[in-house]
Amino acid sequence: MPETGELIQGTLEMLILKALQRGPLHGYSVAEWIQETSQQMLRVEEGALYPALHRMELRGLVKSKWGTSDNNRRAKFYTLTPEGQKRLDAESQRWARLSSAVAFVMQAT
């Protein structure tokens, strides 16, 4: 793991949780949603997405269930658990504080 992994991983998990807040999604849609919503500025690498999803599942932040996709294929859908919702709330607050703090610093004259 590179040294910066912690931050990136934490941020990625927050983004995934945010994506799942709207309802069950499979991995592909999670990546697509983040990419679209960020105006193509954030691209989620597949190599990071799936380990993150599985890790979160192991920790109980998300649940998974096999279902059928729009195009009638077997797909694994991830759902937010109450734990995950709690984590998302905490992470968004932390993120809001952090980004405004960074903004204050950067706007200083």
């Binding site: 592909y28 192991l58 109980g60 996709s69």
Partner: protein, 899 residues
């Protein structure tokens, strides 16, 4: 907390659904790829373009898979499994190394466990009685270097009822009892025990009752004396009949009633004895008659005294209490002025020590030798570990390319260390297991050698929790020493250089190879230490054997007759022995027969004060029959031997050995002179009729003491009527024991079967400690030499193998074979030299610890030191020369090409 629990359960679930998990992962990734492709196609890209874009995004699917799967695994557990199977494969690929490693460790751990289980059986194992930790052993500090653990009967009786800190105080002593059977008397092992013996040991009898203070009174109870028998005696004599209680037994011609049977697990308070009969201490005067220790009073030190602490009392309180009670007890017992002066001189006082393991005097004899042997064992284990560590290190160096490759492929340093540790753990586990497997067998035979003649003793060397704990600690320490150093060593530094540099990175590994060389030097030093120790002990033993006993033990058989319980006296007794002697002389291989009260080297002592012409001398005594000196091959230097016609009525005669003659009659011939024996208030005069050569008495170590011999036909039977037949045979002694048995039975059916032992066995037994130490140390030294040779050879062979191309280049550039041999050889020679120097200094310092075990040998015997160094040098040279010679056979062309 809950998160990790969740993780744990999911992982456990994953363990059982491996196949489904794998399929799901594949499905999930394929779904993603399909979605990505269809999106790209929708965007108007070509099929080939979409394919390659997907592949770029995903990379190798199997690596993906691996990463996801790892998430779901118990990583450490599965890695461990992989490490074990990998290590097994590595070990199997180098069977030579594995065998050496296993054998060295098995030896090291096995030897240590063996000796520890001896120490455990002798010193540590608690008595098999309830709350054994509440028992205390009492002794008397008489102002001498060693505490005296033997009590006289009056002293014990004085202590018995002063028991503020003790709930019970008891005494016991081991004895051999004659029990009347239909076919005659048989010897059985028994113990005199005082009244509170069974109360203190708290073991319930299997049948009937235990002995009580009521039994331990002169005269016993109205129904006679009570005896408690062991379960095995019950089995052998009564075939486990339930009506055994109340049965009569004739013990030493005295009627006893069986009152109880003790279970098999009960062995009394001496851990080495397995008594079959427990009889009240108060019966001792009746049973032993004239030889009674009780009657001798305060001058007979023979009882072991122990106690059970009151609930809540500590051993310190007990010690203080018996200490402060000493004066009162000592002044209260019936004694005489000589005894009182002796006690007061040393400010004698009682002491109490922890008695959880019971008490046996053997402990006092073997504590020091066992400690010395244990130190040797620890040395051998350390040596084995050092050897293995340096071998592993050398191998690690040879495997550096492999390790570097694995590091480059992404293995972490921790993983590599873990795998190498698993490798050494496997080796040491297997080594320890085989060591443990052989330990009980070896310790049984060790115990047999150590206890030698004391054939009635049993050391329980079976494995128990303490032995296992010890072996486990030994194994763990061994593993850590063996494994950690080389593992860290092999993975330290910039391994990447090794891939790049291959064999050429000499600079880096020169420095790194210092550690294995220091370890090898340490090993050589340790080996020298062990060899010197073995040399000293062995040459001391040889000197003991060749020092000469003053008589010729080879071909002498001693047959001991227990006659003390027979009514024969005086002339009739002599008649019996003469008939016995005549009968024995008629046996085929017998050349000479005589009798003696005391057989040399059997730890029996009889001394008297003799005086002549104003000189008084403490002189060792023996009472012998005619022809004794001829039979024993002791020369008669002047005068004559005894004959059967020397009777009490013909005037008392005495023979002196040279030393006694010189001390008593320094200036004239003693023949015809008178010597006076003084005991208490009696004086008896003897006429000296002969002078004989000096013969050793107590043991081979002590020089022949001044000794006087009196004629058995003039002996006053004060010391009982048991004599030993001393028989010289030429050739095998086989049928002699049987002949003696049938002769004795024919003459008197009441005599228990006589016991035949060879004099050379008696000599061996009297040297059991020395023999054991010498044998073990020679064995350990031989092992140390072999192990060191293997280590020197192994490390050098590995090191040379790595220098193959360097040597090839040197030879290509013109180095001669001799130069190459010298170069490789000197690499080890310096190690061996440094180790020898260190070992020599250590040996000079440590050998002093052996001084007390040595006979006629200086702890710095130059011959032993020189011989040890020479032997080590020879073996080290041989071990180093092989790889050196092999390196000289290197073909420069192939060596350089093989890079």
């Amino acid at each position: 907390m809950t998160e990790s629990m969740h993780e744990f359960f999911l992982r456990v679930k994953a363990l059982f659904h491996k196949r489904r998990m794998d399929r799901d992962m594949t499905d999930e990734l394929e779904f993603h790829q399909a979605m990505l492709q269809s999106k790209l196609l929708k965007q108007g890209r070509s099929q080939a373009d979409a394919d390659s874009a997907t592949r770029r995004a995903f990379g190798d699917p199997s690596r993906w898979h691996e990463r996801l799967r790892e998430l779901w695994q118990f990583r450490s557990l599965e890695n461990l499994g992989r490490d074990v199977s990998f290590s097994l494969r590595v070990l199997r690929k180098s069977p030579g190394f594995t065998a050496v490693a296993l054998i060295t460790l098995a030896l090291g751990v096995g030897a240590n466990t063996t000796v520890f289980s001896m120490i455990n059986g002798l010193l540590l194992r608690p008595l098999p009685v309830p709350e054994s930790d509440r028992l205390a052993v009492m002794g008397i500090d008489m102002g001498r270097p060693d505490i005296n653990y033997s009590f006289s009967e009056p002293l014990f009786r004085g202590l018995e009822h002063r028991q503020e800190v003790f709930s019970d105080v008891f005494a016991f002593d081991h004895t051999t009892l004659q029990v009347r059977a239909n076919s005659g008397n048989e010897n059985e092992s028994g113990q005199f025990v005082s009244g509170e013996f069974f109360g203190a040991l708290k073991t319930a009898p299997l049948l009937g009752r235990a002995l009580t203070p009521e039994d331990d009174r002169k005269g016993g109870d109205p129904t006679g004396f009570g005896v408690v028998i062991s379960e095995s005696f019950w089995q052998r004599w009564f075939n486990r009949a339930p009506n055994v209680i109340g049965q009569k037994l004739q013990i030493d011609n005295t009627a006893f009633t069986v009152v109880g049977v003790m279970p098999k697990a009960f062995i009394g308070a001496d851990p080495l004895q397995r008594p079959d009969l427990f009889i009240p201490l108060a019966t001792e005067p009746a049973l032993n008659g004239l030889r009674s220790m009780t009657t001798v009073g305060v001058h007979a030190w023979w009882l072991t005294v122990m106690g059970r602490l009151q609930p809540g009392a500590t051993i310190e309180q007990a010690n203080a209490q018996v200490g402060s009670a000493s004066n009162a007890v000592i002044h209260q017992v019936p004694s005489d002025t000589r005894w009182m002066a002796q006690m007061e001189k040393g400010h004698s006082h009682f002491v109490a020590e922890n008695g959880a393991a019971g008490f046996t005097y053997v402990r006092l004899l073997f504590r020091k030798p066992l400690a010395a042997v244990f130190a040797m064992c620890a040395g051998i284990l350390l040596l084995a570990c050092l050897n293995l560590a340096s071998l592993l290190m050398a191998r690690g160096a040879a495997r550096q390319n492999e390790l570097a490759t694995r590091l480059a492929l992404g293995a972490t340093r921790r993983r590599l260390v873990q795998q190498l540790l698993v490798e050494s753990l496997l080796v040491s586990l297997m080594g320890t297991a085989s060591g443990l497997a052989i330990a009980p067998l070896v310790s049984r035979s060790l115990a047999a050698i150590l206890l030698g003649g004391q054939f009635e003793m049993h050391v329980d060397t079976s494995l128990d929790i303490r032995v296992f704990a010890f072996a486990a600690i030994a194994a763990i320490v061994a593993t850590l020493i063996v494994g950690l150093v080389p593992a860290l060593q092999a993975t330290s530094g910039r391994l990447n250089d090794h891939i790049k540099g291959g064999q050429h990175t000499t600079q880096a590994h020169e420095r790194r190879s210092m550690l294995p060389r220091i370890m090898m030097a340490g090993e050589v030093g340790l080996a020298l230490l062990l060899v010197v120790g073995a040399g000293l002990l062995a040459s001391s033993l040889v000197r003991l054997y060749t020092s000469g006993a003053g008589f010729d033990p080879n071909g002498i058989q001693n047959i001991s007759f227990s006659m003390d319980k027979e009514p024969l006296k005086g002339e009739a007794l002599m008649q019996f022995y003469r008939q016995l002697g005549d009968g024995l002389r008629r046996q085929p291989t017998v050349t000479s027969v005589s009798f003696a009260r005391i057989i040399p080297f059997t730890h029996f002592l009889w001394d008297e004060d003799l005086s002549a012409a104003g000189k008084s001398q403490d002189t060792y005594h023996n009472s012998v029959g005619p022809n004794y000196f001829h039979t024993m091959s002791i020369p008669i230097l002047a005068g004559r031997d005894f004959s059967w016609s020397d009777t009490p009525s013909t005037g008392l005669k005495i023979l002196l050995n040279q030393t006694a003659a010189k001390l008593l009659f320094p200036d004239r011939s003693p023949i015809g002179q008178t010597v006076t024996k003084r005991s208490d208030d009696k004086a008896v005069n003897y006429e000296v009729v002969g002078i004989v050569g000096d013969a050793k008495y107590e043991d081979l170590r002590s020089p022949a003491p001044p000794t006087a011999y009196v004629a058995m036909s003039q002996d006053e039977d004060e010391l009982g009527s048991s004599y030993n037949a001393v028989v010289r045979v030429s050739g095998p002694a086989g049928p002699l024991a049987e002949a003696a048995r049938s002769l004795a039975k024919k003459l008197d059916s009441g005599i228990p079967a006589p016991l035949t032992t060879s004099m050379s066995a008696t000599v061996d037994d009297s040297l059991s400690t020395e023999r054991l130490m010498a044998m073990l140390s020679v064995f350990f030294a031989a092992c140390a030499l072999i192990v060191t040779a293997v280590g020197l050879y192994g490390t050098l062979a590995y090191a040379t193998a790595r220098r193959t191309s360097e040597i090839g280049i040197r030879m290509a550039l013109g180095a001669r074979r001799g130069q190459v041999v010298a170069m490789v050889f000197l690499q080890n020679a310096s190690v061996a030299l440094a180790g020898t120097a260190a070992g020599l200094i250590a040996a000079l310092l440590a050998s002093r610890a052996l001084a007390s075990f040595l006979y006629g040998t200086s702890a710095r015997d130059p011959w032993v030191f020189a011989g040890s160094i020479l032997m080590l040098a020879l073996i080290a040279s041989a071990a180093s020369l092989l790889p050196a010679l092999r390196s000289a056979r290197i073909n420069p062309m192939t060596a350089i090409r093989c890079e």
